[in-house]
Symmetry: C2
Subunit: 356 residues, 2 copies
Amino acid sequence: MLGRPRRLAVLAEGSFNPLDAKTAVGVVRYRAMDVAAVIDSTRAGRTASDCAGVGGAIPVVRDLGEAAVLGADSLLIGIAPKGGDLPDAWRAWVRDALARGWDVLSGLHVFLADDSEFAAIARESGARIVDVRRPPAGRPVAARRAASVDALVVLTVGSDCNVGKMTTALELERELRERGTKAAFVATGQTGLFIAERGVPMDAVASDFVAGFMEQEVIEASKEAEIVLVEGQGAIHHPGYSGVTLSLLHGAAPAALVLCHEHGRETVRDRDLEIPPLPELVLAYEMAASWVSPTRVAGIALNTWKVTEPEARRALDVAARSSGLPATDPVRFGVAELADALLDVAAARRARATHA
Amino acid sequence: MLGRPRRLAVLAEGSFNPLDAKTAVGVVRYRAMDVAAVIDSTRAGRTASDCAGVGGAIPVVRDLGEAAVLGADSLLIGIAPKGGDLPDAWRAWVRDALARGWDVLSGLHVFLADDSEFAAIARESGARIVDVRRPPAGRPVAARRAASVDALVVLTVGSDCNVGKMTTALELERELRERGTKAAFVATGQTGLFIAERGVPMDAVASDFVAGFMEQEVIEASKEAEIVLVEGQGAIHHPGYSGVTLSLLHGAAPAALVLCHEHGRETVRDRDLEIPPLPELVLAYEMAASWVSPTRVAGIALNTWKVTEPEARRALDVAARSSGLPATDPVRFGVAELADALLDVAAARRARATHA
């Protein structure tokens, strides 16, 4: 939803690594062609690939001036402020970008366009402020309509936040398209919204309408796709975000799930809550889905970035054997087996539909 | 959250019956002392009790002028507009009330205070516009903190919307207070917010923070109460609202649930989805809670308004036998058995805490 072809300066000051700059790293991975530079003065002079393992030779620079030399014409906020309020240091970057006439793209909870100082500068310079987290208009209430679409709807679900739900869905979209299948990705979070053509910032939507917007998006996406890949959010046992997870599950009414987990993570991040074993998670998600529309987990996506390749392969073996499902690390080993599994589900559905 | 002692004119034009004017009927039932009149020109001349079975001799009148004669000083919007937008006919009532200097209390999704015409009239007359559905400031994320409060936290859950979750919680608050127990009600919907001193309009809160606000409210309420009664929302198998339900369940981390159902209702309202049998619902809610913090259903509240008293008693027998739990109709037969069950749970918790 970048709106037009852009040359992005991606702001990741002090944080351009895969742990702290999820949005910046996601945009660099999936929108590399649109990125002129990453701004992180603490890593200036290095390449994106050096810092984050993605983005190849995209340069990391000190400030907006250096990004301008590289042809940047838009500033994308690639990190989230601690505490949720806009730090003063960031205000200077936003002001500077707008004064240069650059559009500013933000996925923050705070809407930059509502800031009178920013709005005034933008008006003067002709720059646009794009707040992708602004919820859409409307008050749709879901009614299991997405369960009836022709496309195979797939939702990525997880053991926690930040385990690979967006990445798995995007890698599946790419793999399926390469195989000639019409696949569409539906974004549900700020990073996905920067990358995708379609989506809703679900965490900013009033709670009554999350499932309704999810349903709308799936129905729209299925008009042009054979397989719709929906980015999941949160986790069904996450004390803060479980409601969002269930809204997406019941709104999207998917015919298949892919369960995402980070190998080695034992507790929900920043909480003292144990993550259940994968087979229990499979059952919990299938049970929760069944309250509205039954579904099955079709495979496991295991994020193994913290361990060596032999250890990763062992972890995948264990995951596959304990769950009875295909398991892969989408980034490290690709998603071929998951794509196979989804195409099998799609073929079985078509066969049933023909017989019916 | 009425703000101050009031003489309310409760607007229920064309709808003052228990099915169509949920908010008006709730306010008349639980805030009768604050109600000067109900406005419904189609029922003018009758009493509240005649029309809605509650509110005794509170008069139903034709318009604001008649309510003014009865001493009204505030207009409470007691019905919800179809489609969510404010109908033109209602604008005249709101304008009229504000011009009289009456405060206007609204639980609509649309915020009346943001309407420039209404705001201008209010400024001139000194009237206040109170939008109880405006979400509070802050972005709290739940972390199972409510599971550790000393008070017994009880959440009402249901088989559908509009089955008696608010009423059951309010009746339990009254019963427990009459028995000398410090009980506190926490509202989560617009009607509850008009009645209670404490609460949050959960359906208007951005989805990421519903559980967090629920947690905050429970922790606050537990400071002054032995038993905290939380009004539930939606149902865990409702395709539109299940996420809100799960957010409340995981945010409040209750030690006990009361399961509410309307006798005879077989499908989720306005949807083609079957309501599972009560014992299945008990298991589903207990399972969903266990993903964050375990709990048990302590009793069943069955709304039997549609059947005769002997039929109601038979239905309660069946519900009690099939679930192994105490069952009552809170409005028809009181909540003594449910209060007994909750006090037993509270005593058992205290005994465990003493032994630990």
